[in-house]
């Protein structure tokens, strides 16, 4: 291994210094971490997954199974990154992984000696079954999980930033090689909006592996020049399209610098009605003994390192192949001064290739195959045998084995959309099926073409088609000599008979040939089962290197063709995607949207403790001094009963119901009648679901002849509006009604307490607020400090109370005006916790009681169900189950002791064993300052007939039991004298 003094596409004028395993690693701009490691002579760069075998760089791309490294340190740490895809940057810190204490002396290597025990299915066979049940396995699993995996992630918050971007184009071209460039050119010339996505740092694809300054370079420069002149083409490099999804949507990750203020990665969601998949092909490994030894590499990768990075991977190389493509590697290596022997499994090699090889001084062994690599830390020789077994194996000294068993087109994205590709026997690979209507069309190497001209023509045609019939794509660019391809002259041998030593099919997961054989012996016949049992092709490999070889072995054993054995399909992502990129900016404060009431700023300024109600932020309580929530809510609730308080209820759902049929509409959605409600009045109503269960409750005011103002509970506002819209657009198209959310239009606050009328009267001196002029359940328009308001006289607390509605932009000024004017009345702001206390004392039902299981009868609201008209749920509410006499009914609980009851606690008869589901459950619970006791609301079987009975409240979660007496749930002012006064 050495860096050549000339050649390559690296910038020798810009050296960089990186750090690998604590030591300086020199490189140049244009290098990858892998090329720098090779140039610096690092033969071992990692340890294998299971057996901890020494591994060196194997490939030059996204398929790399060995050179998995951890990048950066501390919170920036990123494990399992392929060194072959990491751009060399000054200051980059990388470390090997899966080894301790180091990759050169790894304790885990003992696994290699124990390998006979670690065959396919080892964990399941060993740890499941010795004892009954799963306890033993679960115990063992902890240790297995600790021992498995590769790199380690950190549990620190990721300091990097990421972005999510949505974009649209007419044509997405995936891949910037010869086919992709041709496709982008054709589509771009026709005027289509094109995104050209290339995962590498520069365009060119396989061309970059050709010697610098050749015919292909000239072609590439010409095409790039023209592409850059077309403003409708957006070229994105370092951008990997990892997923193809329904509705012509593609997922892509773009790697960025991550410099100050800029994201490190950007996740693109691309909507493209047409896409061209020019994703190329990945070379397949040859399977022979010790084919994972450092110094065994893919032939194409060896050529890439030579011609792109000016790294000569070996001085004495063996090129093991079954196809023409590896000859390009052999010839280039020979030109660079290496001694080369080609070991070709074929007996017939095209004459032109033979002659080129001979001219370059290359020895060609036809009809031979490598059966084993030899060497302790790296390759020192290879055992080569004739395939006809007519002769003894040869041991050839070498420091590099460049292997090629053919190529596998990257059909992953296509398969994600269209399932199983088809097998092409003459090229021994899977290619996309011809689907003329498909929106994602393959082009180039992915279709296993025979020559470069076909790649360019094919790409150009797909690009032109994708752009549509309009415009002129011009002429197809002239082709160049792309060297020999694998697909034209292929020998089927990928594994010689009589291999010696561990022969790996899947290097990343340490799956050996013998594992496939064992799975076959154990009866695995389905390719999907084989994959999961042996783990071949799983994880980040996603079948890139291992699929076809594993299938070929399986097919051989089953005496079938590969096409008959079938293949697994592929799922996103094609390459690993950082979770941070998928999350983008939607984390922390942006993990979900937050809803603030128009008075939110005042609450925060006053030091309110906030609580979340769905997506709303609400004032929970306003602590004084060191008060906790318990002390604060008792103080606030008691104060409201004695004086006056103001609570923000802007979160209530508010819906405008408008139109000549509005009353009819309300009659259908509410259980009670609405035609008799006069303008200026308010009525409480209950809604049912179709099945007769209570859906929601609220009050509705009649503003005009055809206009109503409805309120719903906070939690159900959106659901009810959506239900109304659905009914009006489908079931009740005959009704002339429009419903519109007013939740954002109005702020709302409830003023409650015996002094509330007096305070309001000072704020609205021109309005008569006397009980005669404004009785309960009526409203009046007014102004407060010049702000328009509507005063609804209604009570949720049992106190004399008013709900004050004002346009949102007036919300805080109105609130402030009330608080200022209320000072002489000792007004306080109170939060949701004390609001809940007041409503429980009054016995109003809320969310815990309207839990989707209760009926009007259960809630004691049956009197609100009209018998004179149909309404939603009016039929099914009479189902026998819902009318059963032993249903749980709403009651009050007067709780003994100083602890109160927990919501959800079960209720048992006094003296009964607390077993099973009990006779009911607690819904809402609080300490009642008005009663000086803990109270609760609960559903108890036949509860109304059992008032006065002593019961047990059992909290099985916290193992607590208390006693309570069943009473009416209207704990406070049951006659309503205060609220109606």
């Amino acid at each position: 291994m050495k860096r050549l003094t000339t050649g390559g596409r690296i910038n020798r004028d810009t050296p960089v210094t990186m750090c690998f395993d604590g030591r300086d690693l020199p490189g140049f701009e244009g290098d990858t971490l892998a090329s720098a490691l090779l140039a610096a002579g690092h033969k071992t760069v990692g340890r294998s997954f299971k057996y901890h075998r020494r591994r060196g760089v194997y490939s030059a791309g996204v398929e790399e199974p060995n050179a998995m490294v951890t990048l950066h340190e501390g919170a920036f740490r990123e494990p399992n990154t392929r060194a072959t895809c990491v751009e060399a940057q000054d200051g980059l810190v990388a470390a090997s992984q899966n080894a301790w204490p180091s990759i050169h002396l790894d304790i885990g290597a003992v696994n290699n000696l124990l390998s006979p025990f670690f065959s396919a299915g080892f964990y399941y066979k060993t740890f499941i079954g010795p004892f009954s049940g799963t306890g033993f396995w679960m115990w063992c699993e902890r240790f297995i999980r600790r021992a498995s995996g590769m790199g380690r992630a950190v549990h620190l918050p990721d300091p990097d930033t990421y972005e999510k971007v949505t974009t649209t184009c007419d044509v997405l071209v995936i891949g910037g090689g010869a086919a992709g460039l041709s496709a982008a050119l054709a589509a771009g010339r026709k005027g289509a909006r094109v995104i050209l996505a290339e995962q590498d740092t520069v365009l060119g694809g396989a061309i970059l592996s050709d010697p610098v300054g050749g015919e292909s370079d000239f072609w590439l420069k010409q095409i790039e020049l023209e592409l850059h002149t077309l403003p409708n083409i957006r070229i994105l490099t370092r951008a990997s399209v990892f997923g193809a999804y329904d509705s012509d949507t593609y997922g892509m990750v773009e790697h960025l610098s991550g410099c100050e203020g800029q994201p490190r990665q950007r996740y693109w969601q691309i909507h493209a009605p047409r896409a061209v998949m020019a994703t190329g092909a990945i070379e397949r490994p040859m399977v022979f003994g010790n084919n994972d030894l450092s110094g065994v590499m893919l032939a194409g990768a060896v050529r890439s390192y030579l011609n792109r990075f000016a790294v000569l991977a070996g001085q004495t190389a063996l090129v093991a192949t079954n196809n023409d493509s590896a000859y390009a590697t052999a010839i280039d290596l020979a030109s660079a001064g290496a001694g080369i022997t080609v070991v070709d499994t074929r007996t017939e090699v095209p004459q032109a290739l033979r002659e080129q090889a001979e001219t370059a001084g290359i020895r060609v062994l036809r009809g031979h195959a490598v059966i084993a690599a030899r060497g302790r830390k790296c390759v020192t020789s290879a055992l080569v045998a004739p395939l006809d077994q007519n002769g003894e194996p040869l041991q050839l000294a070498c420091d590099l084995i460049a292997a090629s068993a053919g190529w596998s087109p990257n059909v992953h994205l296509w398969s994600q959309l269209y399932k199983t590709p088809e097998y092409r026997p003459e090229s021994a690979c899977f290619i996309p099926r011809a689907l003329f209507e498909a929106h994602l069309q393959p082009a180039g190497l992915v279709t296993a073409p025979m020559e470069m001209a076909q790649i360019i023509t094919d790409g150009f045609a797909r690009g032109s088609e994708a752009a549509g019939p309009d415009g002129d794509a011009g002429t197809v660019p002239e082709s160049f000599d792309g060297g020999p391809l694998w697909s034209g002259n292929f020998g089927p041998v990928w594994c010689a008979p009589g291999v010696k030593g561990k022969a790996f099919v899947d290097l990343q997961h340490d799956v050996k040939l013998s594992d496939i054989d064992q799975a076959h012996l154990e009866g695995y016949v389905s390719v999907e089962h084989l994959k999961r049992y042996t783990t071949t092709g799983m994880a980040t490999d996603q079948g890139k290197l291992s699929n076809v070889n594993a299938l070929a072995r399986m097919a051989d054993l089953q005496e079938r063709e590969i096409a008959e054995a079938g293949t697994t399909t592929f799922r996103p992502p094609f390459t690993p995607v950082t979770i941070g990129a998928l999350v983008g900016q939607d984390h922390g404060a942006h993990v979900r949207p937050t809803r603030r009431t128009p008075i939110h700023g005042w609450h925060v300024a006053q030091g309110a403790a906030l609580t979340e109600a769905g997506l709303w932020k609400r004032a929970w309580y306003y602590p004084q001094g060191d008060e906790d929530v318990g002390a604060a809510y008792r103080r606030e609730a008691a104060h409201v009963r004695a004086h006056i308080g103001l609570v923000d209820v802007s979160t209530l759902g508010k819906i405008a119901v408008q139109g000549p049929d509005a009353a009819t509409f309300l009659n259908r959605v509410y259980t009670n009648g609405w035609r008799s409600l006069r303008p200026g009045r308010i009525r409480y109503g209950v809604m049912l679901r179709e099945d007769g269960i209570v859906l929601d409750d609220g009050a509705t005011a009649r503003l005009g002849e055809h206009e109503y103002f409805m309120t719903t509970t906070t939690a159900n506002a959106a659901k009810i509006l959506a239900d109304f819209e659905r009914r009006l657009q489908s079931d009740w198209r005959d009704l002339k009604v429009h419903v519109t959310s007013l939740t954002d239009q109005f702020a709302a606050m409830a003023l409650a307490g015996p002094k509330s009328r007096a305070l309001l009267q000072t704020l609205c001196p021109d309005v008569d607020l006397s009980p005669e002029a404004l009785p309960n359940n009526s409203f009046v328009e007014a102004t407060i400090a010049e702000h328009p308001v509507r005063l609804h006289r209604m009570s949720f607390s049992g106190e004399l109370a008013y709900e004050i509605y004002t346009p949102s932009g007036h919300g805080e000024p109105v609130w402030q005006a009330i608080m200022t004017a209320g000072a002489p009345h000792r007004i306080i702001a109170y939060g949701t916790e004390s609001m809940g206390t007041l409503r429980i004392e009054k016995g109003h039902v809320a969310g815990p009681e309207l839990d989707g299981r209760t009926t009007m009868e259960d809630l004691g609201l049956a009197g609100l169900a009209s018998s004179k008209k149909p309404f939603v749920g009016s039929v099914l509410r009479h189902r026998p189950l819902l009318q059963s006499a032993d249903r749980a009914q709403l009651v009050g609980l007067l709780v003994e002791g100083d602890e109160g009851a927990r919501g959800g606690s079960l209720i048992f008869a006094k003296g009964a064993a607390p077993e099973g589901h009990g006779e009911g459950w607690v819904t809402s619970t609080t300490y009642s300052p008005a009663l000086g006791k803990y109270i609760a609301m609960a559903f108890v079987k036949n509860g109304q007939a059992r008032l006065g009975e002593e019961v047990q409240i059992v909290n099985l979660l916290e193992n607590q039991t208390s006693s309570a007496r069943l009473i009416s749930h209207h704990f406070f002012d049951p006659e309503g004298e205060r609220q109606n006064g």
Binding site: E163, V165, T168, G261, H590, T743, D744, S808, H810
Partner: protein, 203 residues
């Protein structure tokens, strides 16, 4: 005179934000007072009635649900079959027309203005739409989701968008836009003196 309290009151802190090094092509993020916003809705024959009504206001009923009609400081958006929104910088007379219902929604929306060469780039980081000029030209509007909130986005100029966000969600949308704008750098213009930014203004 009664004051209007902005949903963005606490967030409208004038200054320069985002990537410090980026000085060119900075964005402006501001609130614009909406004025009057009226919803008019109807049933059968709605288009004919509304055409007549729009003409009285100097507007032409757009043919679709994505083109804004603009005239005399008023804008008309067809938001759904049988529904339009009319926004006016000044007072808007509530039309009296049989079989139509009107609803004042002036306080239900907060208008956020995003201006600058990278305005479309910021929007593409917050809403799943194509904001390219050819697909989303000046005078086009769309009702879509931004940070999971239902918003109406209008392109008022080549490099200027106006986002109508629900009042109670506006702060969340604003914060999300600010995050998306960080890599480009952005300015919030001074409060009441700024042309587009209002914390508290007299109605």
């Amino acid at each position: 005179m009664a004051e209007y309290h902005s949903a963005l009151y606490e967030a409208l802190i004038a200054g320069s934000y985002g990537t410090p090094a980026r000085t060119a092509d900075r964005l402006t993020l501001a609130e614009e007072r909406l004025g009057a916003l009226l919803q008019i809705a109807g049933w059968e024959g709605f288009d004919d009635k509304l055409t007549e009504l729009a003409e009285q206001l100097g507007l032409t009923l757009p043919p679709d649900y994505q083109t804004v009609a603009i005239a005399q400081g008023r804008r008309l958006y067809r938001t759904a079959p049988g529904r339009v929104l009319i926004q006016s910088e000044g007072p808007l007379p509530v039309p009296e027309a049989p079989d139509l219902v009107t609803l004042d929604l002036s306080h239900s929306k907060t208008a956020i203005v995003l201006r600058g060469a990278h305005a479309a780039d910021v929007l593409s980081r917050t809403a799943p739409m194509d904001f390219g000029l050819s697909q989303f030209p000046v005078g086009r509007f769309a009702q879509t989701g931004m940070h999971e909130v239902a918003v109406l986005i209008e392109r008022t100029a080549r490099d200027r968008f106006r986002i109508l966000a629900p009042y109670t969600w506006a702060r969340s949308v604003w914060d999300r836009l600010r995050t998306a704008a960080i890599p480009f750098g952005y300015d919030i213009p001074p409060g009441e003196a700024g042309a587009e930014t209002t914390r508290k203004t007299a109605l």
